[in-house]
């Protein structure tokens, strides 16, 4: 297996809120491999956006990286302190696509000018050269009649078109890594399918490495080569898409998959997880998911599980994988999925 282009190890991110300290990311680790798509999936509040914001130095003013490292191109992004350092990364090497295209675009400038701006800043293109390249990029993201669209304003585009423009701005400078933070959550399902196809096409053409954040497991199945499941600021399971969908190991992943209506049987209640994610202001002992896990072991309340290896590419933070743990059968839905997986 090749070396990852970005490696996060034991990252801890804290926020100061209402006079207290909130630990949003608790020693999360992940690896990003070139040319692949990593999907980070989890509930809201799990910390998906916060983790990726540390890669761009875009944490809110009251947040900071407490410890851990994020190695990228030989430098540790977690130690960056000045805007100067971040400007060499943002937009140029790592770019981001946000959820709401309405607010990501400047309503007072034409679409062409916004892409133009980025090209000028990072690639030094000016005037006619920049204009030609802009029109080329607009075409590449599937916007018809790009010459005319160049001089239109964001409000003249539909939601899906706007998101294409946002993607165009992000890939204009050929970044190595593209982070997509729930880019299709606000879009209709047919438009979403088109945007996902677009992102995949761009990845192949430009050799992008993509981090895709979402709570929708259907989208994950569509885009991801690898999947990281996040819960309460920690990555609790990590593996290839097939491994995580067909052979999940962590009870939270089981619960997440079994509660999907797509996998439910009509007339029978869906498997549901009771309660809510834990309060991140207080220190969490042991496994954060334990209070909501009917299959929790006593040790889950005492000590935090380390990453157990399932295969070379598949890891999970659960005591159930320890040799001393009792054999636990996952829910029926998961067992049915396992049957599809050939070990």
């Amino acid at each position: 297996m090749s070396e990852p282009i970005l490696s996060a190890r034991d990252v801890v991110v804290k926020f100061s809120l209402r006079g207290q300290v909130l630990t949003a990311i608790r020693e999360a680790s992940l690896d990003l491999y070139e040319g692949q798509t990593l999907a980070i999936v989890g509930e809201s509040g799990a910390g998906k956006s916060v983790l990726t914001k540390t890669f761009l130095g875009m944490l809110d003013a009251n947040g900071w990286v407490d410890s851990g490292s994020v190695m990228f191109e030989g430098k540790d992004l977690a130690k960056f302190a000045t805007e100067r350092e971040w400007l060499t990364i943002r937009g140029k090497k790592i770019a981001m696509v946000f959820q709401d295209p309405m607010t990501a675009l400047n309503p007072l400038r034409t679409v062409g000018m916004q892409i133009h701006e980025v090209l000028e800043l990072h690639q030094g293109l000016k005037g006619e050269a920049a204009r030609r390249r802009t029109i080329e990029i607009l075409g590449q993201v599937g916007i018809g009649d790009p010459g005319m669209r160049y001089s239109q304003y964001p409000h003249e585009f539909s939601g899906g078109m706007r998101q294409r423009v946002v993607i165009a701005i992000a890939v204009a400078c050929n970044p190595r890594i593209l982070i997509c933070d729930e880019p299709t959550t606000a879009l209709d399902v047919t438009i979403q399918a088109q945007i996902l196809e677009l992102i995949r096409a761009l990845q192949t053409r430009l050799g992008l490495t993509i981090i895709y954040i979402t709570h929708d497991l259907g989208v994950v199945a569509n885009v991801a080569d690898r999947v990281a499941v996040m819960y309460a600021g920690d990555i609790i399971e990590y593996g290839t898409a097939e491994e995580v969908f067909y052979d999940p190991q962590h009870p939270y992943t089981w619960a997440l998959l079994s509660s999907l209506p797509q996998l439910g049987v009509r007339g029978r209640p869906l498997y549901s997880i009771s309660g809510t994610p834990p309060n991140l202001f207080s220190e969490i002992r042991g496994d954060a998911f334990a209070p909501r896990n009917p299959r929790a072991l006593k040790i889950d309340y005492v000590a935090r599980p380390p990453y157990f290896k399932v295969t070379e590419s598949h890891f999970a933070r659960t005591w159930l994988l320890d040799s001393r743990a009792p054999k636990v059968e996952p829910p029926e839905t998961i067992r049915a999925m396992r049957a599809k997986y050939v070990r």
Binding site: E43, S44, G159, D188, V189, T190, Q192, A193, Q194, E197, H215, D216, L217, G218, V219, V220, A221, N222, A224, A241, E242, F245, Y246, A255, L256, L257, S259, L260, P261, Q262, L263, G264, R266, P269, L270, Y271, S272, I273, S274, T276, M337, K340
Partner: protein, 316 residues
């Protein structure tokens, strides 16, 4: 299915809803929708943004005024201007569950007031004790603890708030509930809780639902029959499995092809169909709403209807 003999609780005929913006032409949100909801069933109304599905729901509960067509409840017309007792009966028998748990509860009122609001209006209780008892019962039925009545909405999570909204509707003892995207704003792991709750309540109380959603996979799981709306026009209506195995209208087919499935191998092989409204030529041959197979309705002109009627069931 012998649905002709089933009682139609709600009948919508050629419904048209417009929104007037001062000074310009009215915006037509619902063009021409006809459907029936039978007693005891769960009817799914599916459409994307701008389809008008929420507007239909709101027209039925009399929040939006109608510009054309009729809405019948147990055979009596309930849209437009109606006598006061009928209005009161509608308030009593037809209730709504809203989409956003963060916006659908009055932040400045206690849960006790929020849940009893309908009771205060219809005065459907003898004394303070009975009212309190009803509130407690409603909270327990949705899986909340009675002690929650003295708290404020901001103290609860999204899923709990949504359940308070359900309790608020249930306490009226309705016959028909319109659930307008009740789980779209909830976290993925909480959706199952609320879905299960709605299913249970339907069975134990014999309720009839109209479940409005843009998420076809949820509707497939919970609805008995499904109606598909595109830009204010209903384009297809059929029983759930029939719709999924033999969709005929090109919009329905494109919608179904785009649903994300949580199975990597299936998703890789997926081919998404794109719907282009220009594929219909309605200049000479006018379209109509017709039953092409038993219980399966489609919107199309004569040529299209003939084609649809001959479609063979797709495997799987």
């Amino acid at each position: 299915m012998a649905q002709d003999k089933r009682e139609a609780l709600i009948e919508v005929k050629n419904l048209r809803v417009e929104f007037r913006i001062r000074g310009s032409r009215p915006f037509v949100a619902v063009r021409d929708v006809s459907l029936q909801v039978f007693k005891g069933e769960n009817f799914g109304l599916v459409g994307e943004t701008g389809s008008g599905k929420t507007t239909i729901g709101r027209a039925i509960v009399r929040i939006n005024p109608t510009a054309g067509g009729v809405i019948l409840f147990k055979g009596r017309r309930i849209n437009g201007i109606i006598p006061k007792e009928l209005d009161r009966e509608v308030t009593h028998k037809i209730q709504m569950i809203f989409q956003d748990p963060m916006a659908s509860l009055n932040e400045r009122a206690k849960v006790d007031y929020i849940v009893s609001e309908g009771l205060y209006n219809t005065k459907n209780y003898r004394d303070e004790q009975e009212r309190e008892a009803k509130v407690q019962k409603a909270l327990l039925e949705v899986g909340l603890l009675p002690e929650f009545a003295s708290r404020f909405p901001h103290e609860f999570s999204g899923g709990q708030r949504q359940r308070i909204g359900v309790a608020r509707a249930l306490i009226m003892e309705p016959e028909f509930i319109i659930a307008d995207e009740p789980i779209s704003s909830l976290d993925v792991s909480i959706r199952a809780q609320v879905l299960n709750l709605l299913s249970d309540l339907q069975k134990t109380k014999g309720l009839t639902y109209m479940f409005i959603s843009h998420d076809l996979s949820v509707v497939r799981f919970i609805a008995d029959r499904i109606g598909v709306i595109y830009k204010g026009q209903i384009v297809e209506l059929a029983e759930t499995e029939e719709l999924f195995s033999a969709p005929v209208h090109p919009y329905t087919r494109s919608l179904l092809s785009a649903i994300p499935r949580p199975d990597p191998r299936v998703e890789r092989e997926k081919r998404v169909l794109v719907y282009d409204p220009a594929c219909h030529d309605y200049s000479k041959d006018k379209p109509r709403w017709a039953e092409v197979r038993k219980g399966h309705f489609v919107y199309g002109n004569e040529t299209e209807l003939a084609l649809y009627g001959a479609v063979v069931t797709r495997p799987g």
